[in-house]
Symmetry: C2
Subunit: 395 residues, 2 copies
């Protein structure tokens, strides 16, 4: 198996959403296509990925550094024992001549290329990516389905509590059980009214999580911790700045229910620091690293193993992303669940067009690879990068 070409393009995410800290109006993402010499089901095998949401496109670094390093490497040096391209070896090659530290500067550029390589390898092997990840990093999910919750409740201009309740009712009607809503974008009393409004819809407070997107300083974090604790919500996500480990430890010491964090940690070292110095509690807290943004799925698997070694259960890991890349990790590594953002990030979130959530659970796809081919709006963008896929289809 040989990588013939790697292409990328930047695409606007076009989201009008706002959380407690920032809006997404300028947001872009990078789509990557890895073209290989393999053919599967009569089509050239091309792997696809995108760098998720919340971070900007990173194509310049790919073009200048990571793509040339891979394409210059002797192809046989990138193969595993079975003759397929080995994503871990590709990460090692892409990381050459990079100074230690400053990982975030390259974590999603490398991670997105790595994820597209996984898509290609899974297609070349004729396996859904979750099944390939289960084989390599185990244990997979025996039920053939994964838990999926909604990351919603964004702030919108003029929104009332009744509007928020309507949104949450729609998510429940669509089959979701666990819902998440934003906090920190309004004064505490107004946020409390929002939470009480949503609790009327979800009933059990274990079916509601809240997300502050790292907005709080010390005083406000403590005030929210005190306000939120009696509800016993599923988790309180990113109360404070993502790497303020000392303040995390203080919040964890004052807030009994679960804390969630990790979507803004980009390496195994970051996660180790958070676990060690952030005071996280292995018996309850939730880790949410974004796989393609954190050097890709093989690095993410090492993060999962490190968390497990520190006493966390895989059921406490909910990768960030709300897309089929995270879905494959949840299904392959046997994690707690994945996120969905219905209607928020356009083509750049969500699952196969025919995916259905029933009582909070979604069936794993049986298409080879990640399964982007079954997401028509997103795949239309991806296909533009690799017309050979369309041409072969037409023939």
């Amino acid at each position: 198996m040989r990588i013939l070409d790697i292409r990328e393009t930047a695409v606007p995410v076009r989201s009008s959403m706002r959380n407690a800290v920032f809006d997404f109006s300028e947001m872009t993402t990078s789509i990557v296509a890895v073209v290989t010499d393999r053919v599967a089901e009569g089509r050239p095998v091309v792997g696809f990925a995108f760098n998720g949401t919340g971070r900007y496109a990173c194509g310049a670094a790919m073009r200048a550094r990571f793509i040339p390093r891979l394409l210059k490497e002797p192809p046989e040096a990138l193969l595993d024992a079975e003759g397929f391209v080995d994503p871990e070896k590709c990460v090692a090659v892409m990381s050459r001549r990079e100074k230690p530290g400053g990982e975030a500067e390259r974590a999603w550029a490398i991670g997105t290329i790595e994820t597209a390589i996984w898509d290609a390898v899974a297609k070349a092997r004729g396996l859904p990516l979750w099944a390939l990840l289960a084989r390599r990093y185990g244990p997979g999910t025996p039920s053939g389905r994964v838990f999926c919750y909604v990351g919603g409740g964004w702030y919108r201009p003029g929104q009332t509590v009744a509007d928020l309740q309507d949104e949450m009712r729609r998510h429940r009607d669509a089959g979701y059980v666990l819902l998440k809503t934003k906090v920190g974008g309004l004064p505490l009393d107004e946020d409390r009214r929002r939470i009480e409004g949503v609790l009327e819809i979800v009933g059990d407070p274990r079916n509601l999580a809240v997300d502050a997107n790292g907005a709080f300083d010390r005083d406000r974090a403590f005030a929210y911790a005190e306000m939120l604790a009696p509800y016993g919500l599923r988790w309180f996500e990113e109360p404070v700045a993502p790497t303020d480990f000392a303040l995390y430890a203080e919040v964890c010491a004052r807030y009994q229910p679960a804390i969630g964090t990790g979507e803004n940690l980009y390496s195994l070292q970051d996660v180790r620091n958070m676990i060690r110095f952030g005071g996280l509690r292995p018996d309850r807290d939730v880790l949410q690293v974004d796989p393609p943004q954190a050097f890709g799925l093989s690095h993410f698997a090492r993060i999962v193993e490190a968390a497990e070694a520190a006493g966390f259960s895989r059921a406490q890991i909910f990768p960030h992303g709300g897309n089929q890349m995270s879905l494959a990790c949840v299904g392959g590594l046997g994690l707690g669940g994945c996120e969905a953002y219905p209607g928020v990030f356009g083509a750049f979130a969500g699952y196969a067009d025919d995916a259905r959530v029933e009582e909070g659970w979604m069936r794993l796809p049986d298409r080879p690879g990640i399964g982007f081919e079954a997401q028509s709006e997103l795949y239309a963008l991806m296909r533009e990068l690799a017309p050979e896929v369309t041409a072969a289809r037409a023939s």
Copy 2:
């Protein structure tokens, strides 16, 4: 004062050096020019900066996000009380719509633009940048000169201990007193022979520092700590990975003399974490953050203040970079000293063509701004970005 245009270009660093971890053969850097509406000494005021060495060019993020945000902002919103552009306000504007965390992805893009703005503001005010920084962040350096040491002793193919001694002798002959050499690129015994060889040249072990560039795992870090401790060297730099705070704490507990670190920390939060969790000793250890790479000089000033609040003396701060941007910080903020890399990074290191080091000290420049105009090779590259400077000169 108004910013009319901000331009950038990527330039190869063309260095053949190697440390214990990586080589610099593909390295690039971004040069930035900030064109203003001011005229000083008959020339349009243009501020310049570059993003240092060790990290790659970052122009795509500048073009896509940071430059448009600044140029779209109403110009009066960027001014200080005296009508000059305020670099701190510029950082706040450039940071809009950026998700918290992952700071390294934008720290040097934002920091390089911010540094070029400082250059422009200092020229508009007719002050050397170090003097302007002293006025704003104090206390400056009363002697009018700064300490300067050599970061040398890189690994070269075929190099003998005698070759290394020759290099170090040249640095001593050039006026430097404190020298630094690499460790970790060879087995411990060979590195020991290199150190003993250099000690023959420098004499006092307080005039020698060593730099592992984060290369060591736990065992090797401990072995080097044990080997190095009896020498009582000036400092042992970056023994382990830059954000492995737990391992830093272990090394600090075992190694009595000073540790140096920080060139791969990119934010105030990173430095706070290192001080708090890395076991650094405020009475001896050395901090080496790179100002234009860590969100620029105003953010760097906050880092210096935080270190001082934690008990460090400003004399223990030696900013990374080996260029006139770090020199201005050392002179303006009254820091321990700056680095020089004679002959290593081509145009992208070093000081004014007429700068002289005498017994380890260098006079502060009296040219307005950073002083790049007096570095002919570097300024020739910068001038290409802003031909209006040349045109006005000719008239």
